[in-house]
Symmetry: C2
Subunit: 174 residues, 2 copies
């Protein structure tokens, strides 16, 4: 499947509703635990997605599209959510993510990106040279990755409750 | 996390809306392809979930709760969807799944299951003896497993579009 901005937006614009329908109002027993030391809970993951909206995808697009001679991205803070989410409910975070995503997609649409812009390059601090279309495709896959992860973390909480069915559940053995 | 009927229903009742918000109206480029030979597309997976509502979870609960001396489950047909879904749109399937799930959860709630019933046993044709609570916990994990899988299958379509970011995307390397 080839990258297109419009087919990417189809997925990106659905993510806030998917996450809200999955998580809003759910018992904290499902949303607060993680999968063990140094892993993230569904609550942590929503905070991570918020930080991405603020500092990752669109700010990096702007760096690529800028006239600057140095197009090196600012390193992403993978642990920002542990401070930023403090004192907020999961529902607060879902609402914030939803508002930021809408704003970012409105901005993306306003750019009317063409092929010339999509091949422009930026410098990832660890991965090296990347194109704008790769950045935007990664935004989509990053959403899908974390929706999948949230489902896996929730499934993990019932690992011992399914008994011998564990053998059939790929999600419990990955 | 210990199994409870009510906390299980919290997840089970959300699944139809999660899947509809993820998939309804999405381009077939996202929903029709699979991950390669002998794998399933998002479209196939919704058909599989429908077949589960009809023949798996609730019918097996009824076998466990019955007075029969033989509580062996009918084997589940993992390929039924390839015939049953024919001629139906993804949106048709999502609507059918949603209606069946609602009906099944109404029925589950009407049973008011207590501890005595939750420890009753049935005979899985391959796995052997299983309890009702294990069956119901597996219903929950099965949902989460397939939501996660759908996101993985969708991500796979952009595997070549993310460039060097592939290294950071666990979902593309599982």
């Amino acid at each position: 499947m080839k990258f297109y901005v419009n087919t990417s937006i189809e997925v990106l614009e659905r993510t806030p509703a998917v996450l809200s329908h999955l998580l809003a109002g759910l018992s904290p027993e499902w949303t607060a635990p993680n999968e063990g030391p140094d892993t993230w809970s569904p609550y942590d993951i929503i905070g991570h997605l918020i930080h991405g909206e603020k500092t990752d995808w669109i700010p990096r697009m702007d760096i690529i599209l800028s006239d600057s001679t140095d197009k090196t991205f600012v390193p992403f803070d993978r642990f920002a959510q542990f401070k930023d989410s403090q004192g907020q409910s999961l529902e607060d975070l879902l609402a914030e993510f939803s508002a930021l995503r809408k704003e970012n997609l409105d901005y993306l649409r306003s750019k009317n990106l063409g092929d010339q812009q999509l091949t422009m390059k930026g410098m990832h601090p660890e991965l090296g040279e990347v194109s704008l279309s790769e950045l935007l495709a990664s935004w989509v896959v990053h959403d899908l990755n974390h929706i999948s992860q949230i489902n896996r973390v929730m499934a993990h909480q019932y690992k011992n409750e399914v008994g011998v069915w564990q053998a059939y559940m790929g999600i419990l053995n990955s």
